[in-house]
């Protein structure tokens, strides 16, 4: 399932970049993320709890940030498995200055398998958009409070 969109954040590109590379901010803003432990540079062990349709599941896996071109481009890879199946996602972020803020262009691709695919797939698009929305909303608050 592919998703894409844009969001404007109220901070300069450099600040946004710093925030999305801050494990603490990621932990706080990634919906359902309950654990994030650094295992190497830009690599983390992660535990996510997400409900899709009637299927609420906990997924253990990894979060990796790659293809970094500071301060404008990176790719986030997320992989997790759990009792409700598996999920695999990647998101590409591009940051551009827009006035005093930052325009974030994002594109993601998510694949799920097992129970969440069988039962939750048709809700996936809506849930995915909602989660991305929550992520940026939280970042916006972080940037607002930190400024």
């Amino acid at each position: 399932m592919k998703l894409e969109g844009t969001t404007t954040l109220p901070a300069p590109v450099e600040t946004v970049w710093k925030t999305i590379n801050d494990p603490e901010a990621l932990r706080r803003c990634t919906p359902g993320l309950t654990e994030l432990t650094a295992t190497g540079p830009d690599a983390y062990a992660a535990t996510l709890t997400i409900g899709i349709a009637a299927v609420k599941g906990t997924y253990k896996g990894t979060l990796t940030i790659t293809d970094k071109r500071a301060p404008t481009h990176c790719k986030i890879l997320l992989e997790g498995t759990g009792g409700a199946g598996f999920m695999k996602g990647e998101g590409v972020l591009d940051l551009e200055p827009e006035g005093t803020g930052t325009l974030v262009k994002w594109a993601g691709d998510m694949q799920v398998g097992g129970l969440i695919a069988g039962v939750g797939q048709r809700m996936l698009g809506g849930v995915g958009k909602m989660l991305v929305g929550q992520f940026f909303k939280c970042l916006e608050q972080q940037l607002g409070s930190g400024a």
């Binding site: 598996f86 398998g113 129970l115 695919a117 069988g118 039962v119 797939q121």
Partner: protein, 777 residues
């Protein structure tokens, strides 16, 4: 023989118990101390298993055992191969638990046994399986594309069989034909969805060294024989019971599903009875499915619409494994000719592995595909030549004086495809009469004038039924006068307790209510192959008749000495035995049974043993061929693309009808399932072969509101192949439904000129076709 009950609308012996909730389904089996099993299934369509860590699950509360492939020993080998075929060069079967690779979503990876199902399911969540995903083969066409990933990495192809049959000279026929029609037809996947899903209970008695298994299967005897072999037990120490199976429809005749091995294995290992009941979500991924085929088909006709030749080249999706062999595509290829004279015919298929659930016969088992292709081709011929579609069919029917009619092919039972009897034009004429075909154009025109899109469809089929190799029956009269019939063919709702009782009742002069039929218990009858291919009434029914006749002869022999008469003067009627013409001096049948089992003194040698009891077998030389015609009237809502089926008519010829009530019930149920496959039910998969319809919220079964009343009429042309003259009826209802609905919908939307070449349709898909047709000039 007397035919008092044969042919009568006898209400069913089994219904009082079933309707009062006294049926015994596998989940109703109560065994003291039973533990519960749950299966951990693959979430990947194709992946390598890197490692399995079951430590946390093994120590979880209530867990008795967690089994993975490593625990199975020799039971971990690939499961038995059923029905080999010379062209099936890669006969792959799955293992009870995956060893190093999973090949479809739902493939069993671990089996957990716990005190209850809750604990077992929770423990499944605690098993950590590390998978390395492999490239997925999600569609038939992708499977045969150059450079496709392979489902089985020890093969260099996904094609496991390439099969061809021919009659006549197809190329010549096409070369000289003045007219041809060519099209691609796609039939998609469906699930059988019986009300009772699969389930297994096993109990091992270590002192008697005896294994009891209750299994919701269509083939208890082959399961018993196979389990004995796999577990190293004598067959006489394994009892398999298929109790009141709540619907089978084909997929329950697999041997073996992994759970059928895992549950007995665990029960023996743990020394505790174990139960596993499939839930609906499991059913939609782990029980065999059917119907996915893509046909490239072509027909050649002369200027009058007479068939010169037909050819179809198709792909058959076997799913990840092919345990059941090539039955489905062979049946599709050999059902296609139907009731028509086709002098030149070429059928050719490739059976193909994909990363989806395994395919094996599901009610119809290839017949709906063959009929869909043939009937759609004829509809197009009629449209192209400007002929009436009924007239095109009439011009091509095999005539009543041409039987036995040799189609020139080999059928699924490896015997010649030779139609034994039938009257195709009469069946067709009756269906047209019932649906009011003669007045149809006027009715349709009136409806169109009112802005309503009404369509009429009519489609024909010939159904191979009643194939061998054999079935048997043992009949015993008890001193009470009750008659007991034991046979190997289990029942999944077909009414065996009644049809077989009627047959025995007529011969022995008793009421069907006094006949108790036992099926599906290997302890009561241990020879037989199972309930499939619409064969129970034909094969087991005739065995019952033969056994009853033998018991009648024995009754005459024993009664002759009691009544001081000759055996041939003795008659049986109304539960009594008497000398012809002297009914007043009659003995109750039970008394003769008592006399046939003396406690003292010499027993006459000619009795050949005690009791009124006999065992007989029936082995037909080949299948018997039923036929029929379905006709319907539909209304299409052009805006929503919803269908209303206002009439549905079935005219059916299954030879002599044992019980019209039961045959009509079979047809009603079949039509309901057929409508599902025509318009509602579709197992959708995404591009990674993830199943998307794993609940009945997404897999749409037609409900009572969607199924119209079905009007049934019978034509009887007895089969010359068996003493009762019967043929099978189990699949008749389902076979031509997609074809007749497609034709009716096209007819309703003729002003738009849409072409339906796929089944199932759906409101969405039909609306898409309507929108496309409106857009195109």
């Amino acid at each position: 023989m007397s035919t008092r009950y044969f042919g009568a609308r006898v209400t069913r012996n089994e219904d009082p118990a079933l309707l009062r909730g006294h049926g015994l389904f596998v989940d109703d089996v109560r065994v003291a101390g039973v533990a519960s099993g749950a299966v951990l299934r693959s979430p990947h369509a194709h992946a390598r298993i890197v490692g399995i860590d079951a430590r946390r699950a093994r120590t979880a509360p209530g867990v008795l055992a967690v089994y993975t492939h490593a625990d199975l020993g020799t039971l971990g080998e690939p499961l038995p191969k059923l029905i080999p075929h010379p062209t099936l060069i890669h006969h792959k079967t799955q293992r009870a638990l995956a060893r190093d690779t999973v090949r479809y979503v739902g493939e069993p990876v671990a089996f957990v046994v716990a005190e209850d199902r809750y604990a077992a399911e929770d423990a499944c969540d605690l098993i950590a399986v590390e998978y390395e995903p492999l490239p997925v083969v999600a569609t038939l066409e992708a499977a045969v594309a150059a450079g496709a990933p392979r489902v089985h990495d020890d093969l260099d192809t996904n094609v496991c069989a390439h099969y061809t049959q021919r009659v006549g000279h197809v190329e010549d026929a096409f070369a000289r034909a003045p007219h041809r029609v060519r099209a691609r037809f796609v039939v998609d996947r469906g699930a059988s969805c019986p009300i009772e899903t699969r389930g297994v209970v096993a109990a091992w008695d270590p002192r008697a060294r005896h294994l009891d298994v209750w299994d919701s299967t269509q083939a208890p005897i082959p399961i018993r024989n196979g389990l004995a072999r796999l577990l190293g037990l004598p067959e006489q120490h394994v009892r398999v019971v298929a109790p009141d199976v709540g619907g089978g429809f084909g997929p329950k005749i697999m041997m073996f599903y992994p759970e059928e091995v895992l549950v007995p294995f665990a029960a023996m290992r743990l020394g505790r009875p174990v139960k596993w009941i499939e839930d609906r979500r499991e059913h939609l991924v782990a029980t065999n499915q059917e119907r996915e085929q893509i046909h490239d088909a072509e027909i050649a006709v002369d200027a009058d619409g007479r068939i010169l030749g037909v050819r179809t080249v198709f792909l058959y999706d076997s799913g990840a494994y092919i345990p059941y062999g090539l039955i489905v595509p062979i049946v599709a290829a050999t059902t296609l000719p139907g009731p028509y004279r086709i002098p030149n015919y070429h059928c050719e298929f490739r059976a193909v592995f994909t990363n989806k659930t395994t395919v094996s016969p599901y009610r119809g088992a290839g017949r709906p595909h063959g009929v869909f292709v043939m009937e759609r081709l004829l509809d197009q011929v009629a449209a192209d030549l400007g002929l009436d579609r009924a007239e095109v069919r009439r011009r091509n029917f095999i005539q009543p004086d041409e039987f036995p009619y040799d189609v020139g092919l080999t059928y699924q039972d490896n015997a010649p495809l030779r139609y034994d009897s039938g009257d195709y034009p009469a069946c067709f004429a009756r269906a047209l009469e019932l649906i009011g075909y003669r007045d149809w154009p006027a009715r349709q025109a009136r409806a169109r004038a009112d802005g309503r899109a009404l369509g009429c469809g009519v489609a024909c089929y010939v159904e191979g039924t009643g194939i061998g190799p054999y079935e048997g029956a043992r009949i015993t009269v008890e001193p009470s006068g009750r008659v007991f019939v034991a046979t190997g063919v289990g029942t999944q709702g077909q009414g065996h307790m009644t049809s077989f009782a009627q047959i025995a009742a007529d011969v022995l002069g008793v009421s069907p209510r006094d006949v108790t039929v036992h099926t599906g218990d290997t302890a009561l009858f241990g020879w037989g192959t199972g309930t499939f291919a619409s064969r129970a009434a034909t094969v087991a029914g005739n065995a019952v008749a033969l056994a009853a006749q033998a018991v009648r002869d024995k009754t005459r022999l024993v009664a002759a000495s009691l009544l001081e008469a000759l055996p041939e003067e003795v008659e049986l009627a109304d539960g009594r035995v008497f000398v012809r013409g002297v009914p007043a001096r009659a003995l109750p049948l039970g008394e003769v049974a008592q006399a046939a089992n003396p406690l003292r003194f010499a027993m006459p040698e000619e009795w050949e043993g005690p009791g009124l009891e006999a065992v007989r077998y029936f082995a037909p030389p080949q299948g018997a061929f039923s036929n029929g015609v379905h006709a319907c009237v539909v209304e299409v809502d052009v805006e929503t693309a919803m269908l209303t089926i206002s009439r549905y008519v079935v005219v059916h010829d299954c030879g002599r009808v044992i019980n019209p009530l039961i045959v009509e019930g079979q047809i009603h149920g079949g039509v309901a399932q057929g409508l599902g496959g025509a318009f509602w039910e579709k197992l959708a998969y995404d591009d990674q072969a993830q199943p998307l319809s794993t609940t009945l919220m997404d897999y749409l079964l037609p409900t009572a509101a969607d199924v119209p009343p079905v009007e049934v009429a019978h034509i009887e042309t007895p089969s010359p192949l068996n003493p009762l003259g019967v043929k099978g009826a189990g699949e008749a209802g389902v076979i031509p439904v997609a074809a007749v609905i497609a034709q009716a919908v096209e007819d309703a939307l003729r002003p738009l000129g849409i072409h339906i070449t796929e089944a199932p349709l759906s409101p969405n898909r039909l609306r898409q076709l309507i929108v496309e047709a409106r857009r195109s000039p």
